[in-house]
């Protein structure tokens, strides 16, 4: 994997984490694909049973063949596009910064970057039965800037990563001689 595609690494910088969404997060898409795959087969069986002459008529049969082919090819595109959307979401944590790469559909990609010392708040959130069972969830990172918020979506072990980020942010503040915000 070329992380260099997503970031230009500084000389003193080393990568600590390359995070992706948990594999379980892709299962709903696979289940949906299986349902979409099965629908024409079920409909064809029903139609063949209920209207056998209509389905096999010289007028309609070519349309069913081509329509079925278009439908299945479209579902493959759907599956692959969703896989790319899922797979190209990537969060890189280095000893200096966080880079957030998110793919939204085929033609929309956002990259956000923030310095570790600017982190003010890190919140992890594990929701739902699957998140609890497989230990994945969201991690929200807020900075002093109102506009910059990064969300690591459906990453494995968000609580562990949260602890590490807080530690890294403290280390970076020490490095930049920035006083840690006093706790109330």
């Amino acid at each position: 994997m070329h992380v260099s595609h997503f970031m230009k690494q500084k000389s003193y910088e080393h990568i600590i984490h390359v995070l992706r969404r948990h594999p379980v997060a892709f299962i709903p898409t696979i289940l949906l694909f299986i349902v979409l795959f099965a629908i024409p087969v079920v409909l064809y069986m029903l139609a063949k049973h209920a209207f056998p002459d209509f389905v096999t008529s010289t007028q309609m049969y070519p349309l069913f063949v081509l329509g079925g082919s278009v439908y299945y090819l479209s579902t493959y595109l759907f599956l692959y596009a969703h896989f790319i959307d899922y797979y190209l979401d990537m969060w890189i944590v280095t000893n200096d910064r966080i880079i957030d790469n998110e793919q939204h559909g085929l033609f929309h990609r956002t990259t956000t970057e923030l310095e570790l010392h600017s982190i003010e708040d890190v919140t992890s959130q594990v929701t739902g039965i699957w998140g609890t069972l497989f230990k994945f969830g969201d991690l929200t990172i807020k900075t002093s800037s109102v506009t910059t918020t990064i969300v690591f979506r459906q990453i494995p072990n968000p609580e562990k990563i949260r602890g590490e980020l807080i530690h890294l942010a403290d280390e970076d503040r020490k490095y930049h001689n920035i006083p840690t915000t006093p706790k109330p």
Binding site: H5, P62, V70, L77, L79, Y87
Partner: protein, 80 residues
Amino acid sequence: MIAFPLYIFLFIYLAFLCVFVIFSCINAYHIFSAGIFTVASFTMTVTVILLTLLTLYITWQHVSLIDWSQPFILFEGGNF
């Protein structure tokens, strides 16, 4: 009565195939440009390619048996 040859649908299908190929190439470009060659991306890419080839093969098996020069009659007159 409105009638046109069946092969019109074949042309529409071929136009769809062109769109399909373009979008597939864009998908593949995303994976290859990101340089992500893992077991997951390889498995998914191969699965989609194999499913596509299988679908095109089955389509061809059926399409080759059809007489595309026949007219497709949309509205047949004299029913009223």
